[in-house]
């Protein structure tokens, strides 16, 4: 089992702690403010994009790996990173293509699996 031996357990711990803390911040927002979950998701994506645009978020990704990329902050940071990289290749056009290009996998998967899962699921019927 070379794969098991190749795992960096310190990295896993950092990932767990950072991912957990990012979620706790969201939980505090839910409990202490009247923000709806939808607004919190929007705040996370936008904040992630800004932190990514300022070049700060990549340090967190280097430190925590999936602990930083899996939360929605990482989705926002990825959008920003894609736009900034594509701008260097394609100029102004890149500002419009880069973000979505970098997140295309996630967006397409969400649409596809989302629709598929909705088809197989039965709507809940409330029992009286």
């Amino acid at each position: 089992m070379d794969f098991i031996q190749s795992i960096d357990w310190m990295g896993i711990l950092k990932c767990f702690v950072v991912g957990g803390i990012i979620c706790v911040i969201g939980q505090i927002l839910i409990d202490k403010t009247k923000l709806t979950p939808a607004r919190i998701l929007v705040i996370y994506v936008t904040t992630g994009a800004i932190l990514g645009g300022l070049g700060i978020y990549k340090y967190l990704i280097d430190f925590a790996g999936a602990g930083a990329t899996v939360p929605l902050l990482g989705f926002g940071a990825n959008l920003a990173k894609g736009a900034m990289q594509e701008v260097q290749k394609a100029g102004l056009l890149g500002a419009f293509t880069g973000g979505v290009k970098a997140s295309a996998g996630g967006i397409a998967a969400a649409v596809f699996f989302g629709y598929l899962a909705s088809l197989i699921a039965k709507p809940k019927i409330k029992k009286q």
């Binding site: 957990g20 645009g53 900034m84």
Partner: protein, 150 residues
């Protein structure tokens, strides 16, 4: 009971009546469930890199796998139970984004497969994409103006 006249009074009344959620317990649950979801992501990422994929591709595979899992769990009505327990722990990771697409889609299934499922999928995910993508366009334009590199 005296009648409620101002917004402030109403807000006080709601605070009084709504159950106090034990914030420490919520935070603890959010912490370990959120951390665990990220850790599952990290294992998938390590496995992809072990198979020879680069950083960007691995990260995309992680998103796709987590989204697929949470879409299916939402369809089977398991995700909602996790969500009730973990709060932000399952909302903030990309799993919450997938859940936000599937939940309304199932709910509005009776309105049809095109406008019901296809349309309502984006009640929450729509704003997320609008703000996320718009920010990325603005950041791209700013990057040109200020000549910042990625």
């Amino acid at each position: 009971m005296k009648p409620i006249e101002t917004k402030q009074e109403y807000s006080n009344y709601v605070d009084q009546k709504s159950p106090n959620s034990p914030i420490w317990k919520n935070c603890l649950n959010a912490f370990w469930v959120g951390g665990l979801i990220c850790t599952i992501g990290q294992f998938i990422m390590n496995f992809c890199k072990y198979q020879g994929l680069d950083e960007t591709a691995s990260s995309t595979v992680v998103s796709i796998v987590l989204i697929a899992i949470s879409a299916i769990l939402t369809g089977l009505n398991i995700f909602n139970k996790i969500g009730k327990f973990a709060g932000a722990g399952s909302l903030i990771p990309i799993t919450g984004f997938a859940n936000s697409i599937v939940s309304p889609a199932i709910e509005y299934k009776s309105e049809g497969y095109v406008m019901g499922v296809g349309g309502k999928m984006f009640t929450v995910a729509g704003p997320v994409l609008v703000f996320g993508i718009s920010s990325s366009v603005i950041i791209g334009i700013l990057a040109i103006l200020f000549g910042a590199g990625a």
